[in-house]
Symmetry: none
Subunit: 248 residues, 2 copies
């Protein structure tokens, strides 16, 4: 069931009423799983009013403290992104994101779609948790959509894809190993960063864009669990060799 | 100009705030011409608040008494329709309607898109003024969209059609660095393999599938030149540390 597999995550929503608008937009398109990261003023009567007949989605919304907690078990993470980024990230328009999302959900993967604050969207560090950024091609005269409207369009594209417009994702067809969960990716990045410091490739006083570029690389490819184990093994072995040599 | 050619017509809107939401949804998608048939409570502060930076669309909205007056000069009229009708009418989903609308507009025709009351939609006699009915394929568990949401989706489909429904290439659009050449990838794989042997992670006598899996990984992602340089730098640094420690 898609409703178990695809979740919408609202990050630091400031206008509580929008949460109700999102709940309705989701249910209109057959999505029911909503996660709220530190929402302001939730629950609220205005959200209930705007949810209309989607009160069930609102009532079952999960509330968590961090984005990481919202996507711990997610294997494919899409982030709604309006702005141009200094480091480009893989980005597709809402239509293609809808197709990708349905392909991954159909493959049994946990999918999360992140939407940011009303005024500032997702922060860079949140966008860096994503495998793919989703862009709604709005008009340059006024590109900023209301939060619930943005959810409506992406949810609509998910539904359209589900109704038979989905693209098979090439690399995932008959893949031999499950794709890594977000929480394991975060552990890998910590391990990678520490190893790069140990071998003095990364200066923690002047990190520049190094980790950001490496995160982009590995989020772009989506590591499977065996690949993740191989890379963790390489890092552990590097650290072990350094310690051994030091001891001698 | 599409903004002169395509108008959105709201028929007997009862919640004045929705008019503001519609204005914003339109401008977000590049539409600016709004006609209101006997709107209740217009103008209103709530509409202004919801219009946000689309106050110009709201301010220039034309107010008329009848649907006929709103579409006098229209040459192609589309009506948003949720319900099954007793007499079947030509009906297409929002995606196809968006394409039809743009085709007619490109041919220089005046196009009107009608949206009905929040509670009952367009009446049969209003739907019979239309050339085409537009259906948003919402989920059967809760098919009724908020008025501004419905306008958002149709306006979005108009914009997508206008943009030519083009396929953006995922990660290559506006990428900041050229992608690595194959010859450099081969050098990288040699360097990687040697380093894995140096740190005793890879046993050349029993290599198993290790390099094959790593090649698959890095070929899947397509490294750009800067990423390749970073990874080569990590490998070199690792080798350097090993040699240093050995010498001591």
């Amino acid at each position: 069931m898609l409703s178990d597999t695809i979740r919408v995550v609202l990050v630091h929503t400031t206008h509580a009423g929008n949460i109700g608008g999102v709940a309705r937009a989701m249910k209109n398109m057959g999505l029911t799983r909503l996660t709220l990261v530190k929402p302001q003023g939730h629950p609220s009567p205005e959200a209930q009013w705007r949810a209309a007949s989607a009160l069930d989605v609102l009532a079952h919304a999960q509330v968590v403290d961090t984005v990481e907690a919202a996507i711990t078990d997610a294997q494919f993470v899409v982030g709604a992104s309006a702005r141009e980024r200094r480091i480009p990230w893989p980005v597709q328009d809402a239509r293609h994101c809808g197709k990708r999302i349905v392909s991954h959900a159909n493959a049994g993967e946990q999918v999360a779609i992140l939407f940011g604050r009303e005024d500032r969207g997702l922060l860079n560090e949140e966008l860096q948790l994503c495998n793919l950024h989703c862009h709604i091609p709005s008009h340059e005269s006024y590109p900023s959509l209301n939060l619930a409207m943005a959810v409506q369009i992406v949810a609509y594209e998910v539904r359209m894809a589900l109704l038979g417009d989905s693209l098979p994702v090439e690399q995932d067809a008959n893949w031999d190993t499950p794709f890594a969960k977000n929480v394991d990716m975060l552990r890998f990045y910590d391990h990678l960063e520490q190893t790069l410091i140990d071998i003095e490739f990364l200066d923690p006083e002047a990190p520049r864009q190094l980790m950001r570029r490496l995160r982009r690389l590995f989020n772009r490819v989506r590591l499977d669990e065996m690949e993740l184990n191989i890379l963790r093994g390489v890092l552990s072995e590097m650290q072990k060799r350094l310690t051994e040599k030091l001891r001698k």
